[in-house]
């Protein structure tokens, strides 16, 4: 064998792993690496889901392990779907979702649009605006609880100043009409910056030359806004809506701190209600059925939404 350059190159090339570990093909090695992840996925996601589906057909209670578990068929599902109180919780959740997303998108986009215009100190303003979302929801809940206090709360005094009402004449957290809005206000205050940041990223991704071309074509600013800015930011906006929608569907801590679900059950969102059923009343089977119904609802809505998002992105 002569010492040719090809031989030297072959000797310098590290051998393929499969050749080193005898008896293992590339596919087997790939499985070895992927298997732990698949196992974790099965253990953490798939198995609990299947187990939850199984429990949803039983009268199991996690705090009564010595009690006989009976399969009750679809009774849990039937009870949930015919329970008017649960539909009211769903309604409260839908109200909360719709209005928080509406205000957060509207204000978040407006702020992003303003911040995106070059002016002195816009970085400082961005930092200030972003501060609320960095706080813990529990802290924010307590903080706003004081602001809403009818006797000493700043919020009531500000409203009273502009309306001429007595500050203690209205209760943001104690009134059936105002309590849902008080939560919308706090969530909007806290999470609008998140939407703003996403919109800002969208706005900054639009190349300047598109606007320059529009200027050359003498397109008005308004036309540029509706034909360039909005369509190009739309995928980002839709992503923001998806993120906020999923987050707000699970909203728990902020509402618990502010109203505890009250007054009555006015602000009892499905997440709070589900927690009560599962970990306070300990109706595990019933709560499992409840969780499955919510899962199917969210999964269905999210799938439709993601399809729409993909279509917008393809345009």
């Amino acid at each position: 064998m002569s010492d040719t350059p090809i031989t030297r190159a072959a000797e310098a090339t590290p051998p393929v792993m499969a050749r080193k570990i005898k008896g293992l093909s590339d596919r087997a090695i790939a499985w070895i690496f992927v298997a732990p992840t698949i196992f974790l996925l099965l253990a953490i996601n798939i198995f609990p889901l299947i187990w939850t589906i199984n429990l949803s057909f039983t009268n199991f209670r996690a705090n009564r392990l010595n009690r006989e578990v009976e399969y009750v068929g679809l009774r849990n599902y039937e009870r949930i779907l015919t329970d008017t109180d649960i539909w009211l919780n769903m309604q409260a959740t839908a109200h909360f979702l719709f209005w928080t997303i509406f205000f957060q998108v509207l204000i978040g986009f407006t702020l992003a649009w303003l911040i995106n215009r070059k002016f002195k100190g816009n970085d400082l303003w961005t930092t200030i605006i972003v501060l609320p979302m960095m706080l813990s929801p529990a802290v924010v809940g307590n903080f706003w609880k004081f602001l809403y206090q009818p006797q000493i709360g700043l919020f009531n005094y500000i409203v009273a100043f502009f309306t001429g009402k007595d500050p203690s004449s209205f209760e943001m957290l104690g009134s059936v009409d105002l309590a849902p809005w008080s939560i919308v206000i706090v969530d909007t205050w806290m999470w609008t910056p998140f939407v703003m940041l996403i919109c800002l990223a969208g706005l900054r991704s639009i190349p300047d030359y598109i606007y320059e071309a529009a200027e050359i074509d003498r397109a008005s600013k308004l036309r540029q806004f509706f034909t360039i800015t909005i369509p190009m930011v739309l995928p980002f906006l839709m992503l923001a809506v998806l993120f906020r929608g999923i987050e707000n569907f699970k909203m728990f801590d902020l509402v618990v701190q502010l109203t505890g679900g009250g007054p009555g059950s006015t602000t009892e969102l499905t997440s709070i209600n589900l927690k009560r059923e599962a970990f306070e009343k300990w109706r595990t089977g019933y709560a499992s059925a409840y969780a499955i119904i919510l899962f199917v609802t969210v999964f269905g809505l999210a799938s439709i939404y993601v399809k729409a998002l993909n279509r917008v992105k393809e345009r």
Partner: protein, 439 residues
């Protein structure tokens, strides 16, 4: 040789004795809620440590999380607590789910008689099924819901005159529920020393048990019953009786016309804050807080006095308080039982009362000095004579949360009528008892 043998045997004996005493000395953990009496118990337990050689550590959970935290601990078979001072409502679940050690044999062996403790506390804190001689706890902390008021305001001539003019009677501790409301309404929005004050702080909390404990303070004096026949779960006509409807309407009127603005979700802490900040003339709260209230430098001492929950159709107070149980999952049950034995001692019980805990031992309660031993002692005795407790069923949490929802919907959220609220409550409770196989 003999000397050497003797030395060896002696050394071995000493070592064995030392090892045996080391094995017996345990570190016990006692779990309870974080409040004033818990601090008194820490102080009291120092004597137990000195006497027994065991050391005590404490796990005190804030009240709003107490039930969640402790019931999770029990349900998961946790070993955190060797001793637990658990709420009276937990006794059914504690017994049926095997969380608590049954204490009958221990009581018999140690000659601890339940007859030495106040009957109401034994019934409420220790027995399951109710009223049977099956004991799962020793009465540890007697408690009931009571009232306190601004004695200094009640004593002022200008206020007394205004009250007389407004109501036609003298301003004094209310003797009926209706007088209580009338007095609270008199103070509502009144200006005293340049500050607007309000009638009374009552319980309206939604999340745990607050509003139920408040509402039952009105329901019991009106004659509310959970069942027509004890043990039969026949609630129709009892839970929603005309008296119960009237009492619930009364509580709603109280909330709407005689409480400070913003007290829509208030419980123990909010009641104390309202009183200590000089916002209210009266407040409801558990007797457990009364020693601390009396000691308060601003609103305690001569400025405060106490009264038992006033009767209406009958006497009735909402039961608080707890028994002390040995947790079945503890590895140190013997040492935990030693603590119970020590705690049941009448002398220890007297010290417990002196430190601010509420003893349920008859030797303390029936002592001639007891009534004058604190400004609230007589009221405490009177309250404990007419206490009623919520369901103590294993499914108590489900029953409690149903009541929380129904009464908060009506009282605070102003939805529906009192009759509808109680009718719906029966529906909820019926479903629970059906699931439990009791109906």
């Amino acid at each position: 040789m003999k000397f050497s043998k003797l030395t060896t045997v002696s050394a071995l004996s000493l070592a064995a004795a030392g090892m045996s005493s080391a094995a017996q000395a345990e570190e016990l953990t006692l779990c309870w809620a974080a409040w004033d009496p818990a601090n008194a118990l820490v102080e009291l337990s120092k004597e137990f440590e000195a006497e027994s050689g065991h050391t005590m550590s404490f796990e005190f959970i804030p009240w709003p999380n107490f039930a969640d935290r402790m019931l999770n601990e029990l349900n998961s078979g946790g070993k955190l607590c060797d001793l637990l001072i658990g709420d009276s409502q937990w006794i059914g679940g504690g017994a049926e789910n095997g969380h608590y050690v049954k204490l009958n044999d221990f009581f018999d062996a140690e000659s601890i008689s339940m007859g030495d403790f106040a009957d109401a506390t034994v019934y409420a804190y220790s027995t399951w099924p109710k009223g049977t001689p099956n004991y799962y706890a020793l009465p540890a902390m007697g408690d009931a819901n009571g009232w306190f008021y601004r004695k200094d305001w009640f004593a002022r001539d200008d206020i007394k005159a205004a009250f007389k003019e407004a109501t036609g009677r003298d301003l004094a501790e209310p003797t009926t529920q209706k007088e209580l409301l009338e007095t609270a309404q008199f103070f509502q929005g009144r200006e005293i020393d340049g500050q607007t004050v309000y009638g009374a702080a009552i319980f309206t909390e939604r999340g745990s048990e607050g509003i139920t404990m408040g509402v039952t303070s009105a329901l019991y004096p009106w004659g509310f019953k959970y069942e027509n026949t004890p043990g039969e779960y026949d609630m129709e006509g009892a839970v929603n009786s005309p008296e119960a409807v009237e009492a619930l309407e009364f509580y709603k009127e109280f909330y709407e016309t005689a409480t400070p603005p913003g007290y829509t979700n208030s419980y123990m802490g909010e009641s104390l804050d309202a009183f200590k900040s000089g916002q209210v003339a009266m407040a409801m709260n558990w007797f457990a807080f009364f020693p601390g209230l009396y000691a308060d430098p601003n609103t305690g001492g001569e400025k405060i006095d106490f009264f038992v929950n006033p009767p209406q159709n009958q006497a009735g107070s909402t039961l608080g308080g707890q028994g002390i149980s040995v947790v079945a999952y503890s590895d140190k049950q013997d040492a935990a039982l030693e603590y119970i034995k020590w705690f049941a001692n009448p002398e220890v019980q007297q010290k417990w009362w002196d430190l601010g805990g509420y003893s349920a031992h008859k030797a303390v309660l029936e002592s001639p000095e007891f009534v004058d031993s604190a400004p609230f002692a007589g009221d405490f005795l009177e309250a404990m004579g007419a206490v009623q407790d919520f369901w103590q069923e294993p499914a108590y949490a489900e029953l409690l949360l149903a009541m929380q929802k129904r009464v908060h919907d009506y009282v605070v959220a102003d939805q529906g009528t009192a009759q509808e609220a109680l009718d719906k409550l029966i529906e909820d409770w019926t479903e629970t008892f059906e699931d439990e196989g009791k109906l």
